[in-house]
């Protein structure tokens, strides 16, 4: 196992975590994603950019099969995570989502206490054997989400009572608590002010060490700041995918150049 890891690392620079081939998504009769193929590396922040309605969020939701919850949505093509086809009938989407965590555009804490918000995932997946263990998981998750110091004295107060930035970090802590390997983030800063945004960005930077982070963002500065790889989507297609530096300084496709210089979007 270790040998393969080393070989892969040396070949591709980093181990591949997610590999998508010819992914198509249709909502009823409209195609939202057309033939997207992409490899996403572990221990890397990959940014999806593109104008509104280009399909980047839809594609992100394919990676943890969240699109299954929408009746009219049909996903075809192959998506492999750790070389396992996530559409295989043997794969339980519920288990998959424990492995592939997600943070949403608007902070969506549950109507529960801060502690219970974080403990929810570990509880349903049976990650803790004792109460003390559960407490540790919650503490570590809140620490990783850089929220522990702000809430440690009021873990019993409702999660909905926190500020927007704190709520979003609570949602990140909640996602981390189930020990996922991949963290999907759908515009996690779009509802936050610049200070909260900076805190989340710093957090994403740290998370990269342990997780494969995929982030959808509307802010190109943000993509440039936090990601190592960038994928540009346009009208449901993946137009360009490469190292972030290359995409922003020397885009190969004219549409990418138009978008990052502000001419389309």
């Amino acid at each position: 196992m270790k040998d393969i890891d080393v070989i892969e690392r040396s070949r591709a620079g980093a181990r591949q975590k997610i590999s998508a081939r010819n992914v198509q998504v249709r909502y009823g009769h409209t195609a939202a994603i057309k033939n997207v193929s992409v490899d996403i590396a572990a221990d890397t922040v990959t940014a999806f950019i593109g104008p509104s309605g280009c399909g980047k969020s839809t594609f992100l939701r394919c990676l943890n099969r969240m699109n299954d919850t929408i009746d009219t949505c049909r996903v075809t093509g192959e998506i492999r995570i750790d070389d396992e086809d996530i559409h295989d009938p043997k794969v339980d989407p519920v288990q998959l989502r424990a492995k592939v965590g997600m943070v949403f555009q608007k902070p969506n804490p549950f109507a529960k206490s801060i502690y219970d918000n974080v403990a929810y995932g570990p509880k349903i997946h049976g990650l803790a054997r004792t109460k003390a263990e559960l407490g540790d998981i919650v503490k570590v998750a809140l620490e990783k989400a850089a929220l522990w110091d702000e809430v440690k004295d009021r873990l019993d107060s409702p999660g909905t009572g926190l500020s927007g930035g704190q709520q979003q970090r609570l949602c990140i802590a909640r996602a981390i608590a189930t020990a996922p390997q991949v963290l999907l983030m759908d515009e996690p800063c779009s509802a936050l002010d610049p200070i909260a945004t900076a805190q989340i960005e710093e957090l994403i930077h740290d998370l990269r060490r342990n997780y494969c982070v995929v982030i959808v963002t509307h802010s190109m500065q943000q993509a440039a700041r936090i990601s190592q790889k960038t994928a540009f989507f346009h009208l449901g297609s993946l137009v360009e995918y490469g190292d972030t530096d290359q995409v922003f300084t020397a885009p190969r496709d004219s549409r990418t150049e138009s978008y990052i210089t502000g001419r389309i979007g």
Partner: protein
């Protein structure tokens, strides 16, 4: 003008006539003042007319209401503060003053639109006041009669005695406890049926059912809510009661009466199912989809999401629904009359006939009644108790519902 006295019955027609007259006159005056160009007016003729119309109508109605109240108070004190004939005259004077005043102010510079707004606001305030004052009036009228009752009958015997046997020749035992017990027992059984079934129906409809199923089932459940309670009572009398008697009460040796607490409770529960389900459905639908997505994204199943995320978030609304259902159950009469009978009894056996406060209020006030005897006046004391009870429940329910409404702002 003296002849107006004979026309007192047609007072409404006269006032409306005056209002219409004022409306036309004010419009014509405004039109004349414009000198042919309506742009010279501060307000168009329309608002002038509307203002004049309300300037006659509203003060006339208000003065009629005020003078009638003065007469009522006078009658209660046994003095005639106002003669019946003076009221229409006074109202007509007020109307005429309004008419003259409105016509005379209709000049080019008069801002009739603003004046009309003022009238509209006054009307809306009046409508709100009617609701509030009526509540006050109901409480006061019940309070007066109840006070009379307690002057003749000791409150301790009323609230703490477990014997209810009214006797119209006097010497009655009028203890509320058997009635209160019957009320609470029947309501309890009703809620025991209605809250879980209603809640589960709401969960199914909002979380599991497809759109087509929902479109069929929701209106059907709401039809159930529209059936008059007397019809439910018939159902209790002809179906549920005999079935319970023949298949449960008699075989189990628990009695042989078709009317029982169980009969009324079950039928009342059926009546409340749509009520609970519709309100719970609203509460469940008010839980943001984002919250469910958050739970699914953590790898929760649908039932885990419902149990641990959706229901806790909707709980205040669901509790509000249950409390509103409880206050309806406590006030219900018809189902009890036909389902549980009229025997005041303190018993734990749910298959025995019992009765409730509302039923006894009706039976104390029907037939030959003498509004001075405690046997009749007790109805008001019962009514007041019931009112305080349900008011408390409603206030509690409203407080809970309000708290939950603020939650997802």
């Amino acid at each position: 003008m003296i002849r107006n006295l004979d026309m007192a019955p047609s007072l409404p027609a006269l006032v409306i006539g005056l209002a219409v007259l004022a409306s036309f006159a004010a419009q014509m005056r405004a039109r004349a003042a414009s000198g042919g160009d309506l742009r010279n007016l501060a307000s168009l003729p329309g608002p002038h007319g509307a203002n004049a119309f309300l300037s006659v109508l509203v003060p006339a109605i208000a003065s009629y209401a005020a003078l009638s109240l003065v007469r009522l108070i006078g009658d209660r004190q046994g003095v005639e503060l106002l003669s019946a004939h003076s009221v229409p005259v006074a109202v007509l004077v007020v109307a005429a003053l309004g008419c003259g005043g409105a016509i005379s102010v209709s000049t080019a510079r008069f801002r009739a639109r603003a004046a009309f707004e003022w009238w509209i606001k006054s009307l809306l305030i009046a409508a709100a006041a009617v609701a509030v004052l009526t509540t006050l009036g109901i409480v006061l009228s019940m309070l007066f009669e109840a006070v009379q009752f307690f002057q003749q009958y000791h409150w301790r015997d009323f609230f703490l005695s477990s014997k209810w046997s009214p006797n119209f020749r006097g010497n009655s035992a009028l203890g509320i406890l058997p009635l209160l017990w019957g009320t609470l027992y029947i309501s309890f059984i009703a809620l025991l049926l209605a809250v879980p079934v209603g809640l589960f129906a709401a969960i199914y409809l909002s979380e599991y059912a497809g759109r087509r199923m929902r479109n069929v089932a929701k209106p059907l459940i709401e039809i159930l809510a529209g059936i008059p309670t007397i019809v439910y009572g018939l159902f209790a009398l002809t179906t549920i009661g005999p079935v319970l008697r023949d298949y449960f009460a008699q075989p189990l040796g628990l009695g042989d009466s078709a009317s029982s607490v169980m009969t009324a409770g079950l039928v009342m529960g059926i009546m409340l199912i749509p009520f609970v389900s519709s309100l719970s459905d609203d509460a469940i639908n008010a839980v943001p989809q984002a919250m469910r997505d958050g739970s699914y994204a953590l790898g929760a199943t649908r039932s885990e999401t419902i149990r641990q995320v959706v229901i806790p978030a909707a709980l205040p609304g669901i509790m509000g629904a249950a409390l509103l259902a409880a206050s309806r159950a406590i006030g219900e009469t018809m189902i009890v009359v036909l389902g549980a009978g009229a025997a005041a009894r303190l018993s734990l056996n749910p298959l025995e006939a019992m009765t409730t406060i509302t039923v006894k209020i009706v039976s104390q006030l029907t037939g030959d009644t003498d509004f001075a005897s405690p046997e009749t006046l007790v109805a008001f004391a019962l009514g007041l108790t019931l009112f305080v009870f349900t008011l408390g429940l409603n206030v509690l329910a409203l407080m809970i519902v309000r708290k939950y409404r603020e939650r997802y702002e």
